[in-house]
Amino acid sequence: MLDFAEFERALAFRQPKLRLRQTGEILVAKGEFVLSDGASLEGRLDAFDIEMLVATSYPEVEPLVREVGGRIPYHPDWHMYANGRCCTCIWEEWCATSADTSFKAFCEGPLRNFFLSQHVFEKTGEWPFGERAHGAAGYLQAAANFLGLDEDDTHADRYLQAVAAQSLKGHWDCPCGSGRRLRDCHYAHFVSLRERVDRNQAIHLLTRLLELRRQERVNFRKPPR
């Protein structure tokens, strides 16, 4: 849960150009989001006009951030939706992999990183912290990152299934894709992986991934000829 005092603690000093208010269960920040490296000789680095809505049930619900100054093109290549909404990160991935998921950590993590990335992308055409592929493909990369695999590992979903399962069965096909039984291949590896990562988060990520794939199939089905 997030109350207004904590919302202010995260933003009022570091972001003095944001106006903060609460409307029912929604905390609102509107104004200039300043990119700054603290007390710098040159002052702020850059600023973006934003509007951010955060539910008091944070971090259950992802904060909604919009760039409202028209500085960033509202285009998928900039990780922006047509209505100015910013896709700062894969929320479930950040929640699952961050040591600190407080609202302050979000402001100093994904939120700041997003606008710092936009600043750098504008100047150099590169995303300094990388970028996730759009849609379910990006989610699969996030799953790989969560499991500590190479981000391009296309078997991440099968790994996730093995971690999310109630128990491991030796007769399953090994998720690594070797065609061998699990008991004859990576059984020990998965036992140790299941000890390392949180099963509930794995279930959550897997559910979201499968749901995304299903919806993408329905929504982006090729029209009949």
């Binding site: 202010e8 603690r9 009022a12 000093f13 570091r14 972001q15 003095p16 150009k17 300043v34 990119l35 700054s36 490296d37 603290g38 007390a39 710098s40 000789l41 040159e42 002052g43 702020r44 680095l45 850059d46 998928p76 990780h79 939706y81 047509a82 209505n83 909404r85 910013c86 896709c87 990160c89 894969i90 950040w94 961050s98 100093e108 993590g109 700041r112 990183n113 997003f114 710092l116 990335s117 600043h119 750098v120 100047k123 150099t124 995303w127 300094p128 912290f129 990388g130 970028e131 996730r132 759009h134 849609g135 990006g138 989610y139 996030a142 995304l212 919806q215 993408e216 929504n219 982006f220």
Partner: protein, 416 residues
Amino acid sequence: MPNENGLTHEEVLQQLHAGIDMPLEIYEEIIEKYESISNWLDRPDSSISQFDPMVAPQGSVRLGTANRPIAENDEYDVDLICRLNASKYDFTQKSLKEAVGREIIAYASRNGMKKQPENKRRCWTLEYTNARNFHVDVLPCIPDVESYRARLKEAGHAQIADNARVAQQAVAITDDTHERYAVISDDWPSSNPLGYAEWFKEQMAECVAAEKRALFEATRLYDHVEDIPDYKVKTTLQKAVQLLKRHRDSVFGDDPEHKPISIIVTTLAARAYNNETTLVEAISNILERFDEALEEINGVVWVVNPVNPEENFADKWEEIPEKAAAFRKWLKAARHDFGRYLNMLPPHEVPESLRARLGTTLVEKVMDSLRDRAPKVAAPAFITSQNTERAQVMVERVRERGTGSAPWLNLLNLRE
């Protein structure tokens, strides 16, 4: 090139602090004053000399957080305690207050003070009107260690009760509105201003030790580090408290009734302080976390007295909600004013709002003294090549902390 002479926010804040700090000679004058009162009370024919009277500063002078008055001719406020080594059977609250009062009145008369000492609810007030004006409150009290310990233990605060440095300083004070004021009784108001000062010192012990070592090595005026009196060094916590108090005084210039009291500002700042070594870091951290130590107990907001958790420094807020609102208003203004300067502007550009709060004349004087350190030509807000380098440094810092995050796009939301 902006700031080729390297002026920093830290230097500006340090200079601003020096401009509001109570000067060392004033500290020394205060020491002279309370030693003089102490000698008078302890002279052979004093009516209370058999009780070994001890006079010592308390409050902001003892904490090292006292500021110069805003206006040149305003008086310095000094709080002293006058502790008699007596028991609750030797005196009633009234007879203690009168016994100390007789000697204080005699002292004032002997020293040709123009104004008779004033008998206030808990203390005697002396007005010095010489070259400098001092308003000195003398608080009569007696030791109250055992009942302080017992009360704390009974309320479940054994750790504080067992902290000898704090507990040994507990006192019973007088209050002329107390129902047992004029009768021999165990029931006296209690207080522990010197114990609070010990607690405050513990919060910055690391920094005090470092400052004393630095002074010892820089001056060689002392044989041992331990010989350096506390008031000779200043930590970043003390300086931050002083800047915040000055900001508060200015915000509430027209509304002193609702001004958040110093003990609240000092306690919350000390709670938030994390041994930051620079003033910029200290004030940033303190302002960010300032209200973290506010507690809500049964719907009432508490600023817990760290040396007596049964006491709420914010006890008036429930009765007078305007005080709580004023606290919020001030915190918001302080975060905005310092935040704008430290997070958005270069060191030589103190924003108008902060100038007004810390005193335009003072800020101008400080900036004048640093003029040769400011950039010769005003720096444009954005300098592309430098900004690219700065952005790269920021990116590297994020990577080092391992808190990088990559943007994504949910294709389904494209239809929003």
